[in-house]
Amino acid sequence: MSKATADWRRVGDRFYRKTNLYTSLFPPDLELENYVVVGAPYSGAIALYRDESQIFRSNQPGVKANIDIYSCAGTLIRQIPRDRSQGTLIAVGWSEDETLLVVTEHGQVKTYTDLSPDFTPFTLGHEASSHGVKSCRFYSTGFVALLGNNRFVSVPSYHEPRPQTLAPAPPGEVISWAVIPPEHTSSRSVEVLLAVDRTVHVVDAAECEDRGLQAGPFRHIAVSPNGKFVALYTDDGKVWVISSDFQERFSEYDSRVKTPPKDLQWCGNNAVALAWEDEIHLVGPSGAATKFEYDGFVHLMPDADGIRVLTNEVCDFLQKVPDETEEVFRLGSSSPASVLVDAVEMLEKKSPKADDNIQLIRANLDEAVDVCVRAAGQEYSVHRQKQLLKAASFGKSVLDLYNSDDYVDMTEVLRVLNAVRFYEVGIPLSYDQYIRLTPERLVQRLVNRHEYLLALKISEFLRLPVDRIYVSWAREKVRSSSTDEDTIVSSIVDKLHGQRGISFEAVARAAYDDGREKVAIQLLEHEPRAGKQVPLLLKVGEDSLALDKALESGDTDLIFWVLLNLKKKMPLSTFFRTINSRPVASAIVEASAIDQDRDLLKDLYYQTDRLVDGSNLLLSESLDSSDVNGSVDKLKSSAKLLRDSKEHAAQVGALEDAVKLLRFQEAFEKDLGGEKFVGLSVMRTLGKLVEGGSMKRAERVRGEFKVSEKSFAWVRLRSLVKRRDWRELEELSKQRKSAISWEPYFNEILGAGNPKVAALYIPKCTHLAVNERIEMWVKCGLVKAAAEEALKAKDRGKLEELRGMATGGVGVEVERMIGMLGKGR
């Protein structure tokens, strides 16, 4: 077993290590220098495609027309055909969830999710298609494209891609450029660094700012994974590392090479890798450097914590030696962890020194155990993982109290990591990458590679949900099976049945996309969520089934959405027939049509023989009309709809009355100059006429509309009071009979403040009790009359009460009356 430090290189005061992950990746005849190689973050898949800017013989064997997706171990996962009809391919990139993005020169973008060959397209907009895309830079969730006119288009997310143009950049040739992802900028949106002429500009959505550097032109720009540093490669072969706000300059390194490097990338956050054909310079902080030489052409694939190096022969991982690893293995290290590892070696040799060692670090033993556990996580070699865990375990056993959770977790993680690093799977995750990626997304990546069994095992091992794995499996099953439909359905249902939370809809969708509609419909039957069934059913053309399922879900949005879709694709009469038998659907259509589409409503009422509703709709329209003639026309047609049926006679009558009233009102407005009548009700028209003194007209209206005596009496009374027509009211009091008794007259007139006239009505209120009448007299201030009333009723008590109220002469009168009563007794 080689020493742990064998692959270590010292760069300045730090150590870097090169771990060989896989060997013999590609056949030797594959000329890697003619290909563009792009790796997905977190040791994800590698996309490989022929670099079209280089000339090659198209019929040369081994030259591929596809975009090939390989695992890091060189296993071909998928081939994606290149569609040349949409223009030259400009850039290929990955997002952090392993979505592949392919950008063509006319701004067409295709997104391939889950490593599947199916894509969703979107475009970068008009400007991109007219000026053409020059190049692209990708980051975890989005990318930025450089157009031919030096403008940038940013796509911040692929979920609902919405390309935005950034502020215009200065003209001139763009020598190199890079992006700072939004999570690392203070504005929380992406910023672009571009080298033009001798300086660097910073561009965001609103502005473009010149950073005023003079040392350009800069052949390469790269931003560190944490967004804090920028590496620049000058024309005279120097590498500068500065802060990303351009305020500080950290180090400078002179490569002393005439040709600029093919690639410049960050290795973690503290070293920069320069790649020439077969040579890599690793520049650490403070400008120290080391060189790695390879047999073949190298490609760099930067990751969050290091850099993957790819040649035909090998896939290596370059990274800074993690602190805990350095603590354990550095030559001459006397850290507790290092001593602990030694102690275990001694123990295996049965040397008593083991105990001496333990005693030496007794005070720091728990820390030593922790370091060993963490260091185990950083190892790729199973042997050294074991060695470190054994040390940790030994140290643990000596300690009285130790929380073993971390230890247990680490053993679990290592099992998973070792499983996925296996060359047939080819995901060489480092521990840090695993933590950033999360187990859930690792499982998703396995599913993408159709490693269903491993995904299931890992999910069960880590207690993660397994439903998505099953669904994925079923989708793939649908796509790849060539057997007849029933067998496919039953094999899928057998497997998935009884699993919780399975989305049959997703499987059905895959079946539909694959052109197997029957399978899709059958599978949809098993989907528990009505809301999910509906869109697919609609696509398949099962319209009424879709509507029924939507109704079943109770989700009115879904129902309405289906209805809108149906309305678009069906002839109107079919549409009405469909909704007619479904009251809820019909109610929703009506409710929305009232606000938005009255013509539809008219058609609906007409086609379904809903006469009253139709008539009411016309009535409603007549209210919208601002001139009388328009209203009358609508009212007439409203009445016409109902005229044929007897049961609506009352409504027809009312509608005809409405027309009549409008005509009357029109005439009054003409005759009575300027007074507004249209819009008033019959009663208010009457009121207004009486108030204006047009009694004759009022009588005519009253007769025409058969207004009842009572109603008319009330309206006349109120209007006369309003008009303060006391004379007429006095006249009225001489009448013999009233339709509404006389009391209201008294109340209304008194309420208007005329006790004199009000009093005229008191004697007429013969049906009231004496006391009430007395009260009425008193309200009018006529105590004497009240007393006379009381006298008539021979109510001595009341009289005495009244005496209290009376003043002056009236008092005497009342006194006299009491006396009269006394006499009478």
């Binding site: 203070s186 504005s187 949106s189 965001d204 959505a205 609103a206 998505r468 919780r500 939370g501 399975i502 989305s503 528990p528 969520r529 009505a530 809301g531 879900s553 109770g554 009115t556 949005d557 309405f560 959405w561 809108l564 809820v584 109610a587 929703i588 409710a591 929305s592 009232i594 606000d595 938005q596 009411n616 009535l619 409603s620 007549s622 209210l623 919208d624 001139d627 009388v628 009352a650 409504q651 009312a654 509608l655 009355d657 409405a658 009233l661 409008l662 249209v678 819009g679 009700s681 019959v682 009663m683 009842s708 009572k710 109603s711 009496a713 009330w714 309206v715 109120r718 509404i740 109340n747």
Partner: protein, 678 residues
């Protein structure tokens, strides 16, 4: 009242806080974009992007319940517009729309506004649409058709239940009644189901769902359906943590959910409420815990000590004043639920107490310590004084209205109808009211009340009333009457609508036998005490709402039983849970009856949960959900029930609803507001 004691079980302030945070976070997200526009900012993190907020009018008040305007300003909101009349201006680069996503019409308006601003304005705008409570397919479709979908960033604000008080949760859907009963559009049932699901996710499954009415049944069915879908969703939603997908277990806090479909009990809505809060609502209308009153009514009453909470609107003209009606007021909590008849004495007592306090202050010989306590009490004292002035003026104004002859004759008709006297005897009174030109809504309420209580009005009488109404209020009300008929509020009596009708709908009875209710549930109480009430009937001075009685059937079985069977021994009171003991009465009420027991998937998990919670004996509560709206009077009655329950068994009620309702609003949705030639 006892019901105001902190309801800890369902943490209402938390709901408010969550809604607040949700909105502010969305606003902040837009700020991030807004930063780009501010070119001169040096330290960009300090500047919050300015934006204009366009808000749907019906949402404005709701938002005001949990965010103050000043807070919105802090978050960069420059101006607020209502989404109407195309009045959005382009003074800011960022424009945010905040609207309800369920209506296609709203989506249409938003799309038009975006297009308008885009075509008229020189600058390039950033549009953001926040849909509450969810983004809908229909809205997306409308925006897409209008070409506005790609223009805007779209967010969701999951705004479901908003606490109006600690014991009242509301969806604040103003149009729920209209949509549900007139348009038969079940949108609000779905919205209710979503909101209740959210409660279930937080507090566990309602162990039992009870309900009355066809819509209640629909809601209960939806809840169960959603529960099974939730399992799948939880598992397939990538953003969901795995824990939630273990399935829900029955709640240990909430004992049952009682759903009352509003159309089971229209008469309560139609009746004029006689509690203080109810009368304020009837006369000035309360919305979002606020009412607007003419300044002349308040006289010289000073402004409330606390500034009105979170008004998002600019103050209106000088003639109207907003009054905040909630627990922040010193006196209101003790007044709101009392019968109006007892308000005068209560206010007098308070006035006297305050006066004696004041005399205490002015006493000469005081020690420093005394003074200190006084000073510390001073703010409370002043607040109380201010509140007293407001409520005295309000009560006086209401008194002025209730003393009018028209009000008394209206009330006379109402109480007679409710008490079950012959409705035809009341016809003359109603005719007189029409002839005297009282507001249309008043007349309609009485007619609807009669129709609801006697399952329709004899067609000849109804035709006569219709004619009178059309003559008195205008022919446009043909539409009003048609709407009322569709809503089921004002219908001709049909011979086959009796409760013994063998062709009743399968779902349940199509009409309620109100006479049986008066006997079987004692919904009319003759000797009701308005001061220190013991029966919910006090809120209508005699009429005990059917809705409240139904709740009592579940929670206060022996009380209702004894009330009905006074002469007999109260020994045989029904026991058991759910509707048990009242199945007979229930079968005579229209609509389906719901009774569902919900169990968890995993018996162990629910057991574990029970034992975990069981150790700290928390208060149990029942959730009462009024589908279609609730009146303030019913809330008052339910609070009485709740306080009685709390005293006896230590459990309480929490009331939830789609929105606040009263007779005017219920009838008003049907009233045609347009006139000829306008």
């Amino acid at each position: 009242m006892a019901a105001h004691s902190a309801v800890k079980a369902i943490n209402t302030p938390e709901i408010t806080e969550k809604a607040r945070r949700g909105l502010l976070q969305l606003l902040e997200a837009v700020s991030a974009l807004g930063l780009l526009a501010s070119e001169y900012s040096i330290d960009r993190k300090q500047v919050r992007g300015k934006k204009n907020l366009v808000i749907e009018r019906s949402l404005a008040g709701t938002i005001g319940l949990f965010v103050k305007f000043s807070t919105l300003q802090e978050y960069g909101v420059d101006k607020i517009f209502f989404l109407e009349n195309h009045n959005v201006d382009s003074s800011q680069r960022n424009i945010i729309f905040l609207c309800r996503g369920e209506s296609a019409k709203t989506a249409q308006t938003v799309a038009e506004q975006i297009k308008l601003v885009r075509s008229e304005s020189q600058t390039e705008h950033e549009f953001t649409i926040i849909w509450a409570p969810r983004r809908t397919r229909v809205a997306d479709m409308v925006l897409e058709e209008q070409g506005a979908l790609g223009e805007a960033t779209i967010h969701e604000l999951p705004l479901h239940f908003i606490p109006l008080e600690q014991d009242v949760l509301s969806l604040e859907l103003d149009t729920a009644f209209n949509n549900l009963y007139l348009r038969k559009d079940p949108t609000c049932i779905f919205a209710s189901a979503q909101a209740l699901m959210l409660l279930q996710k937080q507090y566990g499954l309602f162990p039992r769902i009870l309900g009355k009415g066809d819509n209640a049944k629909r809601l209960a069915d939806l809840l169960q359906k959603m529960r099974s879908e939730e399992d799948v969703n939880a598992a397939s939603d990538t953003n969901n943590s795995y824990l939630t997908s273990f399935g829900l277990t029955p709640s240990s806090v909430i004992e049952d959910l009682i759903i009352i479909d509003r159309d089971v009990d229209f008469p309560t809505v139609l009746s004029t409420q006689l509690t203080y809060e109810g009368l304020i609502d009837e006369n000035y209308s309360i919305s979002n815990n606020q009412t607007e009153v003419d300044t002349s009514v308040l006289g010289g009453a000073p402004a409330q000590s606390q500034p009105p909470n979170g008004t998002t609107q600019a103050p209106t003209g000088a003639t109207k004043r907003k009054i905040q009606l909630d627990t922040t007021d010193k006196l209101y909590p003790s007044l709101r639920d009392a019968n109006f008849a007892t308000i005068g004495p209560t206010l007098n007592r308070t006035a006297r107490r305050l006066q004696s306090d004041q005399q205490d202050i002015h006493k000469q010989d005081q020690s420093i310590a005394d003074l200190k306590t006084f000073v510390s009490k001073l703010p409370t004292y002043q607040a109380e004084q201010a509140s007293l002035k407001i409520h005295t003026s309000l009560a006086e104004d209401i008194m002025r209205i209730t003393r009018t002859e028209l009000f008394t004759s209206m009330l006379e008709v109402q109480q007679n109808l409710l008490a079950g006297s012959d409705p035809t005897a009341m016809h003359e009174n109603i005719e007189e009211l029409i002839a005297r030109d009282v507001p249309l809504k008043t007349v309609l309420r009485l007619l609807c009340l009669e129709s609801c209580l006697s399952n329709g009005i004899r067609s000849r009488d109804l035709e006569n009333f219709k004619r009178l109404i059309l003559q008195a209020y205008g022919f446009q009300h043909i539409l009003t009457l048609a709407n009322l008929e569709k809503t089921g509020l004002l219908v001709p009596r049909e011979s086959h609508r009796g409760y013994l009708n063998p062709i009743g709908t399968a779902a349940g009875q199509s009409a309620t036998d109100w006479n049986a209710m008066r006997k079987g549930l004692q919904i009319w109480v003759d000797d009701v005490t308005e001061e220190d009430p013991t029966d919910p009937a006090y809120v209508f001075s005699g009429y005990a709402s059917l809705s409240v009685r139904l709740v009592q059937c579940v929670l206060q079985k022996s009380y209702v039983y004894n009330l009905v069977n006074q002469p007999k021994q109260p020994s045989s009171a029904p026991t058991g849970t759910g509707w048990k003991g009242f199945e007979d009465v229930l079968s005579r009420i229209r609509g389906a009856t719901v009774d569902v027991v919900q169990k968890g998937h995993d018996a162990d998990a629910s057991h574990a949960r029970k034992t975990l919670r069981g150790s700290k004996e928390g208060p149990k509560l029942s959730l009462v959900f009024f589908l279609g709206g609730i009146t303030f009077a019913e809330i008052a009655a339910l609070r009485l029930v709740s306080s009685q329950l709390e005293e006896k068994e230590g459990r309480r009620l929490v009331i939830a609803t789609t929105g606040m309702l009263n007779g005017g609003r219920a009838v008003g949705t049907a009233v045609e507001e347009r006139e000829f030639g306008a």
